[in-house]
């Protein structure tokens, strides 16, 4: 495929991500921070996010498996996740985290479990999407073009 087409595909894809609410303007901000001094800033941050999220997901799953759930701990984890997701602009994940926190406050076990499933789902979605986007970027670069902003 030629560069222009790749670029168009990339723009469309990115726009759809915004459109569907996977990303919000915070992500745009992140991209602005990337410059020649910091060329891989976005990728680094997103990778860190993925690592963090995996860890938090494990912790949450373990915590919610107990007979007597320690809601404070769960809340702390969700809070962390919310912070991370809002820092990179993963809007949908953030929204689910907010709902998750409410359930924790109300100590609603069922709600928590449901939210856990939801957040897992959202996270995997956004992960896939971001990975696809990065792949597209790589393709453009290999084809010799520059990433459109």
């Amino acid at each position: 495929m030629d560069v222009l087409q790749l670029q168009k595909q990339f723009i469309d894809y990115k726009t759809s991500l915004y459109h569907e609410g996977f990303l919000d303007e915070q992500f745009t901000q992140l991209q602005e921070l990337q410059d020649e001094n910091n060329p891989d800033f976005v990728v680094e941050v997103v990778s860190l996010f993925f690592e963090d999220s995996e860890r938090l997901l494990n912790e949450l799953t373990k915590a919610l498996e107990h007979q007597s759930i320690d809601f404070k701990r769960v809340d702390a984890h969700v809070h962390q996740w919310k912070g991370s997701s809002s820092s990179i602009g993963a809007q949908r994940v953030q929204k689910v985290c907010i709902a998750f926190r409410n359930d924790c406050e109300e100590q609603n076990v069922e709600g928590c479990l449901k939210c856990l499933q939801q957040v897992k789902h959202e996270y995997s979605l956004v992960k896939t999407k971001l990975e696809t986007m990065f792949q597209l970027e790589q393709q453009i670069l290999t084809a010799g073009g520059s990433i459109p902003v």
Binding site: H19, E25, Q29, L48, H79, S85, S87, I88, G89
Partner: protein, 740 residues
């Protein structure tokens, strides 16, 4: 027979007589001898007899008389010369003594008699003193009764108890048969029997107040004797009793306003109660003066006690009322607080939630505008943009208004070009005015300073709003905008008599008048103009839209700028003039002006502004830590990252100029760290600026941060521009109050 010198009594047949004489003489002598002995004996017994010398004389007299009679015993028979001599001597002595005694007695007997009279006098005196003492005792007892009564009366503040006690005690002290109290009714035309001692009568019995006997009692301040047959005294069943004497006395019912401590009130109050006291029937008792005095004193005391009771009742009632009102106010306050809290919560949520989608809509619509579109699509997109801009403005206005009312809005003061503001307004309004074929003219006074210190954005908003209204409500004609410096004389407006602007060296008052020749406003609608959401009913303005907030917001802005805004109109169809005056500062030196002209956001990446600025970032969350670091690195700062409070305290040094710490995860700990950092650096210029990063927009978080010594608060998410402007503000002022 020899002749003898003695007389020889014959012993004839009178021998019997002789014998009797003999015996009598003997007894006389005996008696005469024993009398002095008795006298001596009894006088010795009594110590008081003053006339001893007389006694001795008298004794001698008697003894000698006795001796004479004794010696005469021997003269009945033949006796010798010796006996005769002795007899003679005795007689002579007796004669002497008796004469002396007789002479003495002449002196003594009157004395003795006078003693008797003196004794009588003394006895009388003693009787009199006894009587007087009896009287004094009675009086003292009465006094004691009065004191006791007064004590009883004054020991309670309950009206009923006071009156009842009075009657009981009076009855007891004076041993009355009946004692009654008549109180005036509400209408003041009758006296009602309120209290009696024996309660033989039905309470509630009334008597008209204007009886002559009652008037007589009321007009005198003393106790007055009245007839037992008058209506107030007819309290016992009439019968065969002879009723005892009756006395009545008035009891003034004092109004509080009449009561003065040091002088008893005069007869300014006309309300009296009547106290009637009856002595027991069939006793011969009469009213004594001291008893009447007692009654008068008691009546006065009762009056005082009653007024005290009345004062107490009133103050208790007032206190109860106040407590009730207090409770109601408390409730109202709590309700108001709940309402405010609810509103704030709502606003806090809507704040973010409403703006985000709006922002998305506006951003994407404007992006869309940049793309290839058919004319139809372009039109649609423009409509979307316009409507969403309007909506965004509405949201901002509403949120602004509530912040204005909260008092949390603060003006962004800065130096700006006043002339430029007006020119810009004119430019904005000209196209619309041209469409409506309205002529707009701007007239700036020559003494108006070119530059001023104030909130440029809001001033422009105000002017725009006012001019916009003028354009909106005029179908034809012209609009004239005049601006000049307000002097005190030129403000002879009747609208704002209490507003006297006093220009000083660093401030002046800008006065802007916008006159239009449009539909005008009727005078009764003018006050409602500045009330939010209230619209005038004139049909002409129906189609102009608007939601009624504009002028309300303008008014608040103008008030914040320490000014005043008002509208004058002569009526419908006569156009109207909107005037406002605001206080602006005069910039001191001209070289100060250069700075604010450049927008704070510089076009270059800003690396120069913060080159090498050492910043310490503390955030538990790895991702957001990295993002913040990225922001700062992009701006050219030298960033150190820590992930816990302990690390932060260890690492922080005087090289770090700014410390950014995320507080939402940490809750209170974040604030503690701020305190500890402050403690660590005692010198002010060594201390880094501490800024909190938080996701909470509410005032409480902000206040907490302020309280714990943070120099500023930034709301996440932070954009690059925001971080840039925040840092430059911080470095300039070392403090930042709000960056949301």
């Amino acid at each position: 027979m020899e002749s003898c010198n003695c007389i020889e009594p014959q012993w004839p047949a009178d021998e019997l007589l002789m014998k009797y004489q003999y015996i009598s003489d003997f007894f006389i002598a005996l008696a005469y001898f024993s009398i002095p002995l008795e006298l001596i004996y009894f006088v010795k017994k009594s110590a008081l007899f003053p006339y001893r010398w007389v006694l001795v004389q008298f004794g001698a007299f008697i003894v000698l008389c006795g001796a004479t009679h004794l010696i005469s015993l021997w003269t009945f028979t033949m006796h010798s010369r010796t006996v005769a001599v002795v007899m003679t001597t005795a007689k002579v002595l007796t004669a002497v003594v008796s004469c002396a005694t007789a002479l003495m007695l002449v002196h003594i007997i009157p004395d003795l008699l006078s003693v008797k009279t003196r004794e009588l006098i003394l006895k009388n005196k003693a009787a009199e003193l006894d009587r007087e003492m009896g009287l004094i005792r009675t009086q003292e007892e009465t006094g004691r009764h009065v004191r006791m009564l007064t004590h009883e009366i004054r020991s309670t503040l309950d009206r009923h108890t006071i009156l009842q006690t009075t009657l009981v005690e009076l009855g007891r002290t004076l041993a009355l048969e009946e004692c009654a109290l008549w109180m005036p009714t509400r209408t003041g035309l009758e006296l009602q029997l309120s209290y009696t001692l024996r309660q033989q009568n039905p309470v509630g019995y009334t008597v008209p107040i204007h009886l002559p006997v009652i008037n007589q009692v009321f007009s005198s301040s003393r106790a007055v004797k009245i007839s037992p047959n008058c209506p107030v005294a007819r309290l016992r069943p009439a019968g065969k009793y002879i009723p005892g004497e009756v006395v009545a006395i008035r009891v003034p019912l004092l109004h509080l306003s009449n009561f003065q401590i040091n002088d008893w009130p005069e007869l300014s109050t006309k309300r009296y109660a009547l106290m009637v006291l009856m002595l027991p029937s069939d006793s011969a008792r009469q009213w004594h003066v001291h008893e009447l005095e007692l009654v008068e004193v008691v009546a006065d005391q009762v009056a005082v006690a009653l007024s005290h009771a009345a004062i107490l009742e009133e103050s208790m009632r007032a206190r109860d009322l106040l407590m009730e009102q207090n409770g109601a106010l408390d409730l109202a306050r709590r309700e108001a607080e709940t309402a405010i809290r609810a509103r704030n919560d709502f606003l806090a949520v809507m704040n973010h939630e409403m703006r985000t989608p709006m922002h998305a809509i506006i951003a994407l619509s404007s992006l869309l505008q940049e793309t290839e579109l058919t004319p139809e699509q372009r039109l649609m997109v423009e409509m979307i943009l316009k409507s969403s801009n309007l909506l965004a403005t509405l949201i901002n206005d509403v949120l602004d208004l509530s912040r204005l009312e909260d008092g949390s809005l603060q003006l962004d003061l800065g130096t700006f070009n006043l002339y430029a503001v007006f020119r810009e307004v004119l430019n904005l309004i000209k196209p619309i005015a041209a469409v409506k074929k309205l002529h707009v003219s701007l007239n700036l006074a020559p003494d108006l300073p070119e530059y001023a210190i104030g909130d440029e954005k809001r001033l422009m908003q105000t002017i725009l709003n006012v001019v916009g209204n003028a354009v909106k409500f005029s179908k034809e004609g012209s609009i004239s905008i005049t601006a000049f410096v307000a002097k005190s004389e030129s403000l002879g407006d009747s609208q704002v008599p209490e507003f006297y602007p006093v220009p000083s060296d660093n401030h002046f008052y800008l006065r802007v008048q916008v006159k239009d020749s449009g539909s005008g406003i009727s005078p009764q609608d003018i006050p409602k103009l500045f009330t939010k959401f209230a619209q005038t009913q004139s049909t002409a303005s129906r189609n102009s839209g608007g939601y009624g907030l504009g002028l309300a917001i303008c008014k608040r802005f103008v008030n914040l700028m320490k000014g005043h805004i008002w509208i004058e109109s002569e009526g419908l169809g006569k156009g109207c003039t909107a005037v406002f005056v605001v206080k602006l500062g005069i910039p001191e030196r001209l070289n100060e002006l250069k700075l604010p002209f450049m927008p704070k956001v510089s076009t270059n990446p800003g690396q120069t502004a913060f080159a090498g600025l050492k910043v310490l970032v503390m955030d538990e969350n790895g991702v957001s830590r990295m993002v913040t670091k990225g922001l700062l690195v992009h701006l050219g700062c030298d960033v150190t990252m820590v992930s816990s409070s302990d690390e932060c305290l260890c690492v922080v040094s005087h090289e770090h100029k700014v410390v950014l710490m995320d507080v939402c995860a940490l809750g209170m700990d974040g604030h503690e760290i701020a305190v500890r950092i402050r403690e660590k650096f005692t010198k002010r210029h060594e201390r880094p600026i501490i800024v909190a990063l938080t996701g909470n927009t509410d005032k409480v978080t902000k206040e907490n941060c302020m309280r714990f010594g943070m120099d500023g608060v930034i709301l996440k998410p932070v954009s690059l521009d925001k971080m840039r402007s925040v840092l430059s503000d911080l470095l300039e002022h070392r403090v930042l109050f709000e960056a949301i």
